[in-house]
């Protein structure tokens, strides 16, 4: 195998670009889950909405790089509206009711999008800058995936700074640990919740816009992405940034390399590996010492 090194490098990059996508998408879900204790199964709908917004934006001839903020804003707006009604009434309800409500909503959104856009598979018209491939050794690798890794790293770093290094992030992390104490400091945690849900939805939309170049967009993608995000969050561990990164990397690499080694039974092997991992570490790879009440 003369280009075994190149092949390995390309697969590693594939896994990294997939992990970047999983990270952005999983972070939104994870923050909402750990801060608000809210299971949002409509998260995949935000992703698919972002994909469609980006595809239409890129097809319209407007400046291409604005497609990503547009997807963020569109999904964020959807999140804001949903926060007003009916999510807010369900923040304090048991998980089961949240799961039921948001799953029902995701069914409605999925069918609305299929109604409005159709069931065909759409791929974005990438700008010239992101088209084509680069050669690593002898192996071609799409430039867009390099862009994905770069965007994922930059956005991930920005989010880490926001959550870990700003006063706003401190408020958020404090509210995850003990909401009551934060309230006694005079901070309206309901408004924090709204901001977080909008941010989470926007991140979902943004990752959808980025993911459209890799996964395309079609009805049913919302469910697939939701599953991956849930697995990422649970494997990584709730309530920490490092957990989401670890989860995204583990899931991204497991799925990519099981496709390389066992193409026929890739998902079976990958799911099996993830089940084993969860059995060994039920609380996820990075399990912060949270106060459990």
């Amino acid at each position: 195998m003369p280009d075994a090194l190149g092949y390995g490098a390309v697969q590693t990059l594939n896994a990294l670009s997939f992990s970047a996508l999983l990270l952005l998408n999983g972070l939104g879900l994870s923050v909402v889950l750990s801060l608000m204790n809210f299971v949002n199964l409509a998260h995949g709908s935000f992703f698919l909405l972002g994909s469609y917004v980006a595809i239409f934006w890129l097809g319209s001839g407007a400046p291409w790089w604005l497609a990503f903020p547009a997807a963020f804003l569109a999904a964020g707006l959807a999140g804001l509206l949903l926060d007003r009604f009916p999510f807010r009434r369900f923040y304090a309800r048991p998980h089961l009711m949240q799961v039921l409500l948001t799953y029902g909503l995701s069914l409605i959104f999925a069918d609305l999008m299929r109604w409005g856009i159709g069931a065909q598979i759409l791929t974005p018209e990438l700008p010239d800058m992101l088209k084509g491939v680069v050669f690593i050794g002898d192996m071609p690798f799409p430039i867009f995936r390099l862009f994905l890794i770069g965007a994922g790293t930059v956005l991930g770093l920005a989010l880490w700074l926001l959550l870990d290094r700003t006063i706003w992030g401190a408020v958020l992390r404090a509210a995850v640990t003990d909401r009551g104490i934060v309230e006694t400091l005079g901070i309206d945690t309901r408004r924090v919740f709204t901001v977080v849900l909008v941010l989470s939805a926007g991140l979902g939309g943004l990752s959808g816009a980025l993911g459209a170049g890799m996964l395309a967009a079609y009805p049913g993608l919302d469910e697939e992405v939701l599953l991956l995000a849930l697995v990422t969050v649970v494997v990584g561990g709730l309530g920490s940034f490092g957990g989401s990164v670890a989860g995204a990397l583990v899931v991204g690499f497991t799925l990519t390399f099981s496709k390389v080694w066992l193409p026929e039974f890739a998902n079976l092997a990958a799911f099996g590996a993830l089940v084993l991992l969860l059995l060994v570490r039920p609380a996820g790879i990075v399990a912060p010492a949270l106060r459990r009440l």
Binding site: L100, G104, D111, L230, P282
Partner: protein, 299 residues
């Protein structure tokens, strides 16, 4: 109970084949939803992998039937055994921890079964599924028509309902509700959470397996869609529409869902939208489903 049997007899006499097959399907799904209710409604165990038990038994029955013929006793035995084994595996793996963990683990395990059903073409037929099944039979009698299938499904549903009701009323069922409400106190009282939940899982597996075993004969087909996680989600939708925590609600829920699917899909492509709306409205307005609404209206 006598009224139910009388109603079933009247239906069996006068309904046409199409309706009878549809009713048999409702009853089988109703049993599966009822077994899921034992887990979700009474045990608080949010499973998103129930289709693995239901559809796994359907596959097992279809495979055995192609090999040795569709004897009813053999089918029910195969289905229940498959349901029990799958539930035991699932139980050992998932019943170690709490809600979200359980949700993801049941989902992952069920999807693993789907991967097997989808890719193992020699045995499961892959994406095409299995067709051309022999007719169901009981000893020398062939139970091939829709009427015969309906007359098999009714006693199955009645027996399953009685089993579920006595399970819930028995000390083990009460203990199951206890583990949902007060897990720490139940542990302090000396109950093993795992043992109680595992038994509930086994009962649910056997029930779902018995119903699943007959499904290929009603549909004359079994495909990978019957073990996919969307079917698990569909069972949850049926459960919620019917009413969580009500055993007969499962039959209402499966009737509403399959009714929308069968009759409205003929008129509009948007039946999924309608299912979603009915589902969300149920969660918002009738948190205990149709059964809960009926109970409230009566009192």
């Amino acid at each position: 109970m006598i009224r139910v049997i009388a109603a079933a007899a009247v239906v069996a006499l006068f309904a046409d084949d199409y309706l009878l097959r549809f009713l048999a399907e409702i009853l089988l799904f109703g049993v599966a939803v009822m077994s899921l209710d034992i887990l979700i409604g009474f045990g608080g165990l949010m499973s998103l992998g129930h289709a693995a038990l239901f559809g796994g038994a359907a596959y097992a029955a279809a495979i055995v039937a192609r090999q040795w013929g569709g004897d009813l006793v053999l089918m029910l035995g195969t289905g229940m055994a498959t349901g029990l084994v799958l539930a035991a595996v699932m139980g050992v793996v998932v019943l170690r921890s709490g809600q979200l963990f359980l949700l993801i683990m049941t989902l992952l395990l069920a999807q693993m079964l789907w991967e097997v059903a989808f890719h193992w073409r020699d045995v499961t037929g892959g994406a095409d599924g299995l067709r051309g099944l022999p007719a169901l039979s009981l000893g020398p009698w062939a139970l091939s028509g829709a009427r015969a299938l309906f007359l098999v499904a009714v006693p199955l549903a009645v027996v399953a309902f009685l089993v579920a009701r006595s399970f819930i009323a028995a000390p083990i069922g009460r203990a199951l509700v206890g583990t949902r409400e007060e897990p720490i106190r139940m542990t302090a009282l000396g109950y093993s959470l795992f043992a109680v939940r595992f038994r509930a899982m086994m009962v649910a597996g056997a029930m779902a397996g018995a119903a699943g075993a007959l499904l290929p004969f009603v549909n004359q087909y079994v495909g990978p869609q019957s073990v996919h996680w969307t079917l698990s989600a569909t069972l949850v939708i049926m459960l919620v529409i019917g009413g969580i925590g009500s055993l007969w609600g499962g039959f209402i829920g499966s009737a509403v869902y399959l009714g929308i699917q069968t009759y409205l899909s003929a008129y509009t492509d948007r039946w999924q939208l309608l299912v979603g709306l009915v589902f969300v409205l149920t969660v918002l307005l009738l948190p205990n489903g149709v059964a809960g609404g009926v109970r409230r209206w009566r009192s």
